[in-house]
């Protein structure tokens, strides 16, 4: 039986384009003998589009978005009896011609509004199995402060940070005092939930801290001030599985340019036809290495990408080494933490967890979790002998199995208390 898998990408997010690239790459690699792919593009307003002629699976078509969308149907999902269908918003005179059955939803989206649990909750309400994290895991992963507190609670070390909201900002001196007393300069200031380097700035002293705060608060109501580690290595580890079983990928070490990656560099320049991946979401703004960086950096694995989309990366200089050159003891520690985070957050599918090693102290810190990582981190499983096709197959199977499992646990509520 071919399952109808709706791959949903795009969305009201700053990482919209990156998601398109991740999704098209995945669509190209999904086993078409096993799955019937339904590509659903979500535009920046949050409308869903579907093309019967399969126009949405070719990256070339996205160059002229208006012309592409004019050839697509604006669609919505609807649960009808025991099934979920895709139907056209503007039905013709003789009713809805489109009535596409959907068996599984596969959100390949990055960033706020989509990767943060909202889209997952929407599909859950539609009674569809969802590939990847559920609402809670996605939401927890998105909030950088919650994420840190969660890690502390389960015994995974994180870099100290303070959390402030816009109201606290009225008394900026108190913020400065607390920074001085509790973490000390230099620090990095970042909005609590933005999934890219937007609004992130490093501060060495009081003056630059004020500037950094101003910048961050122009993007978010809540911000985080984190101790900056100056001499660091970044190591990322992806985890595949569900709440019962999880396995780690190969480790990677991204080498960011020491140059600051401005948003324009990353998304305008970089993403244009580039990257098989989610672009260097946040290398640190400042001349430092990319500690806060947590999202993906576009790069080297582009080469590993079988997708032509990735071929002309404009950011090939941002390269990474897979597997990371790191001693086995440290690697084991990182894998252990990665699995713990994956398990306790209740993640599912594939997540990438980014760690930072303070070279001065040799301590490992969990820095960030991407519940739907760019390119679904396929390039980290490849060195273990897992083809992208196999990875995608596993991801869908995990989603269906978990869905069935939950269905088994839920009892029917036949009693109407109001009757």
């Amino acid at each position: 039986m071919k399952l109808n898998v709706a791959v949903v990408f795009g969305g009201k997010s700053t990482e919209h384009e990156v998601s398109v690239i991740s999704a098209l790459q995945a669509i190209e690699n999904i086993d078409k003998d096993k799955y019937n792919i339904i590509a659903i593009y979500m535009d920046k307003k949050g409308d869903f589009y579907y093309s019967k002629e399969n126009l949405l699976v070719d990256s070339k078509n996205f160059k002229n978005l208006n012309s592409l969308l004019s050839k697509c149907s604006n669609v919505y999902f609807v649960k009808d009896k025991n099934h979920t269908y895709l139907r056209e918003v503007n039905a013709g005179l003789f009713g809805n011609k489109l009535n596409q059955l959907v068996d599984v939803s596969f959100p390949i989206v990055h960033g706020t509004n989509v990767e943060d649990g909202n889209l997952q909750g929407y599909f859950h309400t539609l009674n569809l199995p969802v590939v990847g994290p559920d609402t809670l895991a996605a939401a927890l992963s998105m909030d950088k402060y919650v994420m840190k507190e969660y890690c502390k609670a389960i015994g995974v070390p994180v870099i100290d940070a303070l959390r402030f909201d816009r109201k606290d900002f009225r008394n900026v001196n108190e913020i400065i005092t607390r920074v001085k007393n509790e973490i000390g300069f230099p620090v990095i200031v970042k909005p609590i939930n933005l999934g890219s380097s937007i609004g992130i700035k490093k501060a060495k002293d009081e003056v630059s801290l004020k500037e950094a705060l101003e910048l961050a608060f122009s993007f978010a109501d809540i911000i985080l001030i984190e101790k900056a580690i100056t001499n660091l290595r970044e190591i990322n580890c992806a985890v595949l599985g569900d709440k019962f079983d999880a396995e780690c990928s190969a480790l990677e070490e991204p080498f960011g340019n020491d140059e600051i990656l401005s948003f324009a560099d990353k998304y305008m320049g970089g993403s244009k036809g580039a990257k098989g991946n989610k672009v260097g979401a946040k290398s640190q703004n400042v001349g430092a290495k990319s500690q806060n960086v947590g999202d993906d950096i576009l790069s080297s694995h582009v080469g590993a990408s079988p997708n032509k989309v990735g071929a002309k990366s404009g950011m090939a200089s941002l390269s990474r080494k897979v597997p990371a050159d790191i001693d086995e003891k440290k690697a084991e520690e990182i894998r252990k933490y990665a699995k713990m985070i994956f398990k306790y957050l209740g993640c599912s599918g594939v997540s990438r967890i980014d760690f930072i090693i303070d070279k001065d102290t040799d301590k490992v810190y969990a820095n960030e979790i991407n519940s739907i990582p760019g390119s679904l981190s396929f390039y980290l499983f490849k060195p273990l002998g897992m083809e992208y096709k196999t990875l995608l197959d596993r991801l869908i199977k995990i989603a269906v199995d978990n869905y069935k499992n939950e269905e088994r646990l839920s009892f029917s509520f036949d009693n109407n208390l109001l009757a």
């Binding site: 039986m1 109808n4 009896k81 068996d103 088994r408």
Partner: protein, 533 residues
């Protein structure tokens, strides 16, 4: 003015006639034969139509003025006859009914419009059409029939395609004269502990029911589809099998149900075995391996039929279940069987045995050997589909009886009530009495108003039931008036007079039993007539 009045009255009568007749067509499942039988049986309900037709002819053609009063009287009569009444099964405005009504309206408009537009003339054609309205509606029905059949065919083909596309799906057909709905329900409950299961909903046991279930409920991610199959005629089961392609099967029982349409028990048996044949044919290995075929091994007819159909060699496909180790008629052994069945205040305990899975003690809240038999079928089948024994035990323990069907209620450890208020057939009532008599060391009391809706056999059935029950109980309380005489006659044959009471109301009877009869007691409340008896 007279014309306008007649026209309005006619339109009202036509609308009422449409509503009534299409409802009857719906109740007859749009089956032409059944519809014609209905016309024959209910011809008397058209007397007023004929009266209207004849009086209209007399009035208009023979110009006999007094016939006008006959017209009025017939129309009033038709109005009273056709006015909607409370029905057990209401008219459901399905798409098909809407189409039928639409065709009716077109026909009527075409027939009466030319006459109706001329308000100054007499309304003779309008009256003729009104008088013949049932005929017009029947013609509309005939016009729709081939179109509806092609819709039906198309719909069923779509369902068949869905099933055929799903190689990994395990489709279990369940049929039998009794118990198939219970087995379906128990099996669904157990299999859900391991698989994603879709089952046909209550009483959806026809080809159309299976089609609707596939189209509306079955999902591509489901592992198992349990399809209940009912039959009234030879070929019914085959029709369903052609759509759902079962690769597994359960036959619960074969008995004398629907003999009016089946004619012989051999036909019943052949029809049930249409399922087995289909399952053998479709039983290619999929992710479940070979899907089992399980039949009631306590039924001699089934045992013999298996040998007839497949000879000995093919028996390896087929597994048997029952309440005895030995197969019925001394043929073979049951693969799965239950014994040591003991009723208690909590329900029933029994031992489930099989060579492959060993012997295990089970507990259930269900009562009665039919329920245990049905449970054995579900347990056996689940084991064959790799559900583990402990999981099955847990699920079986949690299965609740259907309310008012051998439902055990306790006022305390020494005071039980078996609520069987919804039972109303002679066989079920006897089974309930057997359940009651299986409570050892209890004073056994039956409270019953008897059974109704048994036509001319009502007195006879109630008397013989009471005679049987009298041998099994210590006290009997007859409630209500309807069957008092017949029941009293029966009980008096087997029960001492001082142990038989007549009490008007059920509540009072229960109170009486609780306060005036001493000892540890169990009260069977057998059938509870609704207020209109």
């Amino acid at each position: 003015m007279q014309s306008v009045r007649l026209l309005i009255a006619s339109i009202i009568l036509i609308v009422l006639a449409i509503l009534k007749q299409v409802h009857i067509m719906q109740l007859n499942s749009y089956n032409l034969d059944q519809q014609i039988i209905w016309y024959k049986r209910n011809f008397v309900s058209f007397v007023l139509n004929i009266a209207l037709f004849i009086s209209s002819i007399i009035f208009y053609e023979l110009k006999f003025i007094l016939a006008y009063y006959l017209i009025i009287i017939s129309m009033i009569g038709m109005f009273i006859e056709n006015i909607p009444r409370k029905q057990k099964r209401k008219l459901v405005f399905t798409a098909r009914i809407k189409r039928l009504i639409f065709v009716c309206l077109i026909l009527f408009i075409a027939l009466i419009l030319p006459n109706a537009l001329k308000l100054d003339s007499n309304m003779k054609y309008v009256l003729y059409v009104t008088a013949l309205s049932p005929l017009v509606i029947f013609i509309a029905f005939l016009i729709c029939l081939p179109i509806e059949n092609s819709f039906r065919k198309k719909f069923m083909n779509e369902a068949k395609k869905i099933i055929d596309a799903n190689d990994d799906l395990c489709v279990i057909g369940i049929t039998g004269s009794f118990g198939k709905t219970s087995v379906k329900y128990y099996l669904d409950r157990i299999l859900k502990s391991k698989y994603s299961v879709c089952k046909s909903p209550e009483s959806f046991n026809t080809a159309m029911g299976a089609t609707l279930t596939i189209k509306n409920d079955l999902r591509n991610i489901d592992d198992i589809f349990i399809c209940e199959m009912g039959a009234r005629r030879v070929g019914d089961i085959k029709e369903i099998c052609d759509i759902v392609s079962p690769n597994g099967a359960i036959i619960t029982d074969v008995g004398n149900m629907h003999l009016d349409t089946f004619k012989t028990i051999a036909n019943v048996l052949n029809t049930k075995f249409e399922l087995v044949e289909a399952a053998v044919k479709n039983n290619h290995a999929n992710k479940f391996g070979y899907v089992p075929i399980l039949v009631n091994g306590d039924n001699e007819l089934i045992r013999k039929k298996v040998i007839d159909c497949f000879g000995i060699t093919e028996q390896r496909y087929i597994q048997y279940y029952g309440l005895n180790q030995k197969g019925a008629g001394g043929i073979g052994e049951n693969t799965f069987y239950a014994d040591d069945i003991v009723a208690s205040d909590k329900g029933t305990r029994f031992r489930f045995n099989s060579k492959a899975f060993g012997s295990e003690e089970f507990e259930t809240k269900l009562l009665g050997k039919y329920n245990i038999m049905n449970l054995v079928a579900a347990i056996s089948y689940s084991l064959l589909l790799d559900v583990d024994m402990d999981t099955i035990k847990g699920v079986v323990k949690g299965i609740e009886p259907v309310a008012h069907r051998l439902q055990i209620l306790a006022f305390g450890p020494n005071e039980l009530i078996i609520d069987d208020a919804y039972n109303s057939n002679p066989l079920g009532a006897r089974n309930a009495v057997d359940v009651l008599s299986s409570f050892k060391d209890y004073v056994k009391i039956i409270i019953t108003p008897g059974m109704v809706e048994l036509n001319d056999k009502q007195d006879e059935e109630n008397e013989s039931f009471a005679e049987y029950a009298g041998t099994k109980v210590d006290y009997a309380i007859v409630v209500g008036h309807t069957n008092r005489l017949a029941l009293d006659r029966g009980f008096e044959k087997t029960l001492a007079k001082d142990r038989l009471f007549d009490i008007e109301k059920v509540e009072n009877a229960i109170n009486y039993a609780r306060t005036n009869i001493a000892g540890k007691k169990v009260i069977l409340l057998e059938n509870d007539l609704s207020d209109n008896y």
